[in-house]
Amino acid sequence: MLTIYINNTEVQAEEGWTILDAAQFYGLAIPTLCHNPGLSNYGGCRLCLVEIGEGKYTKLVSSCTYPIGEGLVVHTDTKRVLEARRMMIELMLSTAPGSKVIQDLASLYGVKQMRFKIRNEECIYCGLCVRMCEEQMDAKAIGFQNRGFKRKISTPFDERSYECRLCGACMYICPACALRCQGPDADTAVCNACLNLDPTCVEVYDELQCWMYDAGQCGTCVKKPSDAK
């Protein structure tokens, strides 16, 4: 058993856990996208970022891949974390605005704008399908190819391969190529139809006083006063 500090609370965690495992064990909400309990950890989407360390020396790490150690200090909902998560969601929105999963995340975390060029790619390179194919279906029919902006997921030589049994597991797990929900603003880059525009708090409280703190913040503290309606 290791002692770690999550959001200023001393908790016990088992050796070999990641920060995400510990947080989930204690019921803390950390958003994830490329993480799936049945697959290996990948750390590609950076949605599960948390801040570790104390004082001046804190850094953002992806909680789904960071193994805990004795005395680790973790903060799951600081301003820096929330802002970084928003940025990740915004970037993913620009890549695959058609994805319901990402649109829902945007609504949940109050991402109201999208400042990047829309690419409509239907792939955010989370690698879920690649891991699914290899680890659960035992096929290894698809994989990453090329690099940089040419990176893609495909079968060797882009052909139907012997390994692929057309099981469809890759499509089942894909968060990006699923059909978008037909909400009222279905055509815009940021749908936000489900976003609750009323901020829960009128004022900004610090970590100790925020009643939403451990349950995943409402986000009021990171909204600028000007966009709180």
Binding site: K140, A141, I142, G143, F144, Q145, N146, R147, T155, P156, F157, S161, E163
Partner: protein, 162 residues
């Protein structure tokens, strides 16, 4: 090109069928055929018990490997920042027009392959074009054709108009 199985096998044996020597084996194959023939990769995949997906992943990741036959000469146009502002893209365009191919591909007569690179580290003499390891400094659109002609094989030159 006919891929001789024995040759591929000897490359693999040289590395004792070790999957971690994948890149070294691929380099050997690339050196032998000037590209990675599909059949060679299939044999390789079976011999070192590595899935095709992984091999293709590595082969497409590094620009040293090519899945389509490379030309006799490789022209590399620098697209780094310094060369870019000095007209790198225009020069690439001129190469593409001259050879009738897009970058990353090879002409039909297998004479030239066209590639781009992000900075060769000699920005001062940019825009830079490298053909078979020879650096051509301060290339302009007008210099493209003479550079290509220099490397064209003799018969080709005679055939060419003007």
């Amino acid at each position: 090109m006919n891929v001789e199985l024995d040759k591929v096998k000897s490359f693999v044996d040289k590395h004792a069928c070790d999957p971690s020597a994948l890149i070294a084996i691929l380099q050997d194959i690339q050196a032998e055929y000037n590209y990675l023939p599909r059949r060679a990769l299939l044999v390789l995949s079976q011999m070192i018990k590595t899935s095709m997906v992984d091999i293709i992943g590595v082969a497409t990741f590094y620009s040293a490997f090519s899945l389509e036959p490379r030309g006799e000469h490789t022209a590399t146009v620098c697209m780094g920042t310094a060369c870019h502002v000095r007209g790198g893209p225009k020069i690439l365009e001129e190469f593409e027009r001259n050879l009738g191919i897009e970058s990353g591909h090879t002409t039909e007569d297998k004479q030239f392959s066209l590639e781009t690179v992000a900075c060769l580290g000699c920005c001062a003499i940019g825009p830079v074009v490298v053909v078979d390891g020879d650096y051509h400094a301060q290339v302009s659109i007008r210099k493209v054709e003479p550079i290509l002609r220099k490397y064209q094989t003799k018969e080709k030159k005679d055939d060419a108009p003007n």
